[in-house]
């Protein structure tokens, strides 16, 4: 004796937020039922475990059916299968506010619409600990196979890991080919809120350049640190950054700029220039910090580090090591000299500005563009 088939279909689709979250977290139906029972929903509504199981299965099925639409959120706006009207989240919220004053029926529907938007965000939301594991890795089948290790390491269910991974991959595939600003593309195609779209942009950007983020020395950095840096790179070093009108991709770094970076080498190869630069920086710094001696002693070393990073960026392989280089060549030496982040800020400010006063140094534009990003990245990364 068994229930062979059990479905419930409403004219407006009913979705339970709690069950939705459980589904997203990769719980099995039975586990989800357990969680719900513990949550006390049974006592609240005089329901039995059987009813709860039936409801949970039904909800899971609905989510699975919605999943197809969630993969192409732009279609949500005019799909007919589920009664889920208008598209724009901003408008929804506006109307939601309006409806609160007017009509309770529309209210129900609009609540549902906003709920769909929220569901969308939830579907595309990810765990920082998970993304930290796959950041900069190729979004390939090979990586997907290793997800069980990630799952064990992070304590996130494999199902959830897979969903998150597939989300990354789906977004990557779609925006890879698109022209125009990366964040905006993601926001439009997946109807995601700004912050989430930025995070996805970072993930896509990292995956595209395969930045190394897994080394032990980089473990102290959070996803948000990397996302910040990615934002800096996207906004300043890509083709789209210089010329908004250019309909080129935002995902790739500006090749010309990378080429020009090689010219910065003069700052360390020309001995006069190096000394001059050092003197200028030291004059500016004197008396303003109590680690002046260490800074002075380390100047050439640090300067070489930064300029070498710049010169190497033309090689794709070295781009991958960008973050590890920053840490090894700059952050670690500073840290061993016990510089505070205020010191670092001070140092980098004068280091950048002094270069412009050098007589024979001509590459001011490239220098500014390079050091702006380097400075903000280092400052963001300079913590324990």
């Amino acid at each position: 004796m068994s229930v062979e088939l059990d479905v419930f279909v409403g004219n407006t689709t009913i979705m339970d937020k709690e069950v939705y979250q459980l589904w997203l977290n990769g719980y099995t139906v039975n586990d989800a039922v357990k969680v719900r029972i513990e949550g006390g929903v049974m006592e609240e509504c005089e329901a039995s475990a059987e009813v709860l199981l039936s409801d949970t299965m039904d909800q899971y099925r609905t989510f699975q059916m919605c999943e197809r639409l969630l993969h192409h959120p732009a279609k949500l706006a005019n799909q007919l299968l589920f009664q889920i009207p208008p598209d724009r989240q901003a408008m929804l919220i506006e109307r939601y506010a309006l409806a609160c004053q007017f009509n309770s029926l529309d209210l129900v529907i609009i609540q549902f619409q906003t709920f769909i938007c929220i569901s969308l965000f939830r579907y595309y939301a990810f765990d920082d600990s998970f993304v930290r594991e796959v950041l900069g890795k190729k979004l390939s089948k090979g990586t997907k196979k290793d997800l069980d290790d990630v799952s064990i390491k992070t304590g996130i269910t494999l199902k959830s890991c897979r969903r998150q991974f597939d989300n990354f991959k789906r977004v990557f595939k779609v925006v890879e080919e698109l022209k125009g600003p990366l964040v905006e593309n993601i926001r439009q195609h997946f109807l995601l809120p700004d912050q989430l779209a930025r995070d996805y942009a970072a993930i896509v950007f990292f995956a595209n350049h395969r930045f190394e983020t897994g080394k032990k020395k980089l473990q102290y950095l959070t996803f948000q640190d990397f996302a910040f840096c990615a934002g800096q790179l996207i906004n300043n070093w890509t083709v789209g950054a210089v010329d908004n009108m250019m309909e080129d991709m935002d995902v790739d770094l500006d090749k010309e700029f990378l080429q020009d970076l090689k010219d910065l080498k003069i700052l360390i190869t020309d001995k006069d220039l190096l000394d001059q630069h050092k003197n200028l920086v030291c004059t500016a710094l004197r008396g303003k910090t109590n680690v002046f001696n260490e800074m002075e002693a380390n100047f050439k070393n640090l300067s070489r580090g930064l300029v070498n990073i710049a010169a190497k960026l033309i090689n794709a392989k070295d781009v991958r090591d960008f973050f590890i280089d920053l840490v090894e060549k700059f952050i670690e030496p500073c840290r061993s000299d016990k510089l505070t982040s205020i010191d670092v800020n001070l140092y980098l400010t004068h280091y950048t500005n002094s270069a412009h006063i050098l007589d024979t140094f001509k590459h001011h534009a490239v220098w500014t563009r390079y050091m702006g990003v380097i400075k903000s990245c280092i400052l963001r990364m300079y913590h324990d």
Partner: protein, 1052 residues
Amino acid sequence: MPGRLKAKIVAGRHLPVMDRASDLTDAFVEVKFGNTTFKTDVYPKSLNPQWNSEWFKFEVDDEDLQDEPLQITVLDHDTYSANDAIGKVYIDIDPLLCSEAATVISGWLPIYDTIHGIRGEINVLVKVDLFNDLNRFRQSSCGVKFFCTTSIPRCYRAIMVHGFVEELVVNEDPEYQWIDRIRTPRASNEARQRLIFLMSGELQRKIGLKVLEMGGNAVVGYLQCFDLEGESGLVVRAIGTACTLEKISTFPATATHPNNSSPSKDMKDSPQAAPSTLGCRSTHSSPVHSASSRLSQGFSISVPTLLFSGMGSGGSAGKEAGPLKALLKQQTQSALEQREYPFFTLTIFPPGFLLHVGGVVSARSVKLLDRIHNPDEPETRDAWWEEIRQEIKSHAKALGCHAVVGYSESTSICEEVCILSASGTAAILSSRFMQDGPLDTEHRLSQQPLCVFSAGSERVEGDMGSSASLGFEEVVSPGCGFCHIPYDELNIPFPAQLTYCYCCRRYKVPDVLFTTIDLPTEANVTGKGCLIQARLCRTKKKAQGEGNAMAISNLLPFLEYELHTQLMNKLKLRGMNALFGLRIQISVGETMLLGLASATGVYLTALPSPGGIQIAGKTPSDITYEQHISNMQKKINDTITKNKEQYEINPPEVVEEIIGSPIPEPRQRSRLFRSHSESSDEVSEIDLSHGKKDAFVLEIDDTDAVEDIHALLTDSPTPAGFYSCNTEIMPGIQNWTSAIQMFTSVRVFRLNANLTNQGLNKIFSDLCENLLKSLYFKLRSMVPCCLCHLNFTVAIPEDELIQVAVTAVAMSFDKEQTLENGKRSGEKTLIKAITENDEQLQFNLELNAESSSPNPLGSPKGLSEVGSHPSARDRCSSWIEQLKLKAHTIRRGSVKTTSSMEKASPLPEGRSRSLRSNRSYSGSSVAVVKMTPLSFIPGAKIIKYLGIINMFFIRETSSLREEGGVSGFLHTFIAEVFAMVRAHVAALGGNAVVSYSMKECVFMENPNKNQAQCLINVSGDAVIFVRESELELTSVQPQSATTQTSNGGEGT
């Protein structure tokens, strides 16, 4: 050339990828109507093609327009191989043929494939130009309006109710043709879908012709069903109630006023009915197939039928009402007797139409489907139904009634055995909406001999209308009139216990009343109602042919008897005394029979309070046994008390004392059950009342009774905040919010082999109970809420499987108000719409009567010429009545005239304005379309009916597991059906479907082959509604004024 159909293909979107290499599709569209096909250009390499085609024009007969659907096929162009079909859209163009309905079909419609489901959408534009057809012998019936709604549609008034129309069409089922062995499942499914579209179009046209013949212009309560008889064919049959409706003219409703320029106009206003026959004619020439001649053709068994209404014994007084009542009865009877079947599929009536209710009448018959089949001669099926209808008619007569209301028909088929069932409520109707001939004003003038009489009778109608129940039983409050017994109490057709009406104390009422109709809005009800279900499962042996049919027909009476016992017990347990919306479904399988009876129980104030239930043991020797019994007794008593509290049933106790003297009955009444088989007729009757004990007694010495008691007590109460009913409205709840949620839920349960009857019963009962519990849980966010129109359908798809499907609507209501002002104000708001409607109707009728009847009392000669069975008494009665009624009209006429005038002016503006705003609001995004099985939308006004929605879909899969198993498959399919209904309604310009029902959901699976197939048939009325809040902005004042006037008038 009576019509030109024009179609334009605009664009497609979300098409599936048909070319794996490019991940794109080269789509084009074929537009087919009848035998003509047009094609669009190929739009290469796109999933969102923009065809923007020219207008494809089809010049066709209007007969074809009615029968055929417009068929749109989307294909993927393939240079080297055959073009691949993406999917199809069938468009029913019937709504466009009636100028009062939709004018254009325009919008995004899902492209449907029977194997893959919805595959993208297509944007189309469809229009029809109809030319005037003066051919009086035409076969088409364009312009006849169809409504699924089983009441007079909200924005119409009934000029006349003509009566019953029925028709059936048969054909071979493509699934069973030889060719099916060589064609693909897709081709076979599509052939079937198309055939059913064609057949229902043809059916509708034929019914329309009958309606025109009768002089009507609309069918209300249109109920169309399919019988999938397997190898013996496919039957599409429909019943309905022919009416003459008129649009309430205060609505300027968008471009559909009679003086519209469209050519289709003219035909509708003057129905070119062939004036060949009078009265209601049907295709049957020899209608008399009495049940006794049953073994005449093939094999058939008529099954004993239960008749019931009020039960009890004794009762003697109340004579004085007799003769008058008889007069009235005869008067309307004359109008009805001409009709072959005085049946009405309506369940809600205009006030004053329903006078008395006798009780439920039903008939069932078991038939063997014949294998030889000639599609052109559906006589066999016709004869079967005729037999059943005759039986129903005679049952109604036995109850002293001349009409059957809330009438419906159904079948259950298993292999070659078919159970035909019909049921309804015997009733006496007022002659107000009925007339003897198929006449309307124009005809009357042209046909002299009839003129006088019909004018006279119309006079009566008009007058009756103005005073509703006042006319004859003037002192009786309208809230109890329908409960009064229609039969003669000295000559009761069955042992019944009668008492004086608890409301008016003048007429007799039964102690229990069962009906298939909705609760009349004017009824006085104490407390709230609730859903009551009786469920039963009986095993039977596997058998073949006649033996099988015999076995089934032997089981049926027991099944029905037990269902009724259960219903009665549960009714008493809830402390209620009447059932409305009773629907008994009997489903037959290879090894079992399922019975499910659903109804809404209420406490009618007019009826006596029900007695309790007493348990008696036959072996009183054992002490523990005694204790056991007393325990159970206590439990039952507790439950009754609890139920009374929950449903707020506290009838005024005083009533008992006052009534004490004239009525000899004790407080608790015993109940008598009567199962009357037509062979043993009314006499040889087992008395199942357990003597004349005070209370309803259950003896538990036999296991059956123990089971009954268990069944009684295991029904779990509805959780707090929930109410449920299977009728349109829930007594005691009126202040609905506008939040509604329509849903369908389906469950299939697999049984183990070798279950006993008891085991089966329990499983079946649990299945239904659990389903209800699940619904309550799902809808918990809507509390406080009521599940209305809970419609259960059971089926036995194969051995050891039980399928239960439920469609209902959950409606939220405001708790505070309910508690505060209780019934009074609530009732007012509820009745408002109807009274308002009625108000205008009355006004108009009076005018009509005045202007068109120079000689109201006429010469009685007219009567004999009509060919009815006139007698002196007949004439006399109508005359007396007329005088009485006339007095009333004169008294009240003036008030009404002013009130309706008042109303006429300010409304139009507001309505058209809000309509406009409504339209513009929806903008480009997908518009919300509401669906509800009810005939109304709470807090909203229906301003236009756009036509009937009647859709049939087949879905099949051979990758069941991949689609999420049976549940995933069906879930998707139902969601797709909803989506398609919504899309078609939106394309008609509507924003809701009312009177929605899923009439068929046949699910078959073969998990071993990873296959499943499902057929779904849905129907409803597409409408445009406007929120009342929007309306009220402009018209609060006059409206409320009118309501008050009309209410005041009603009270006197």
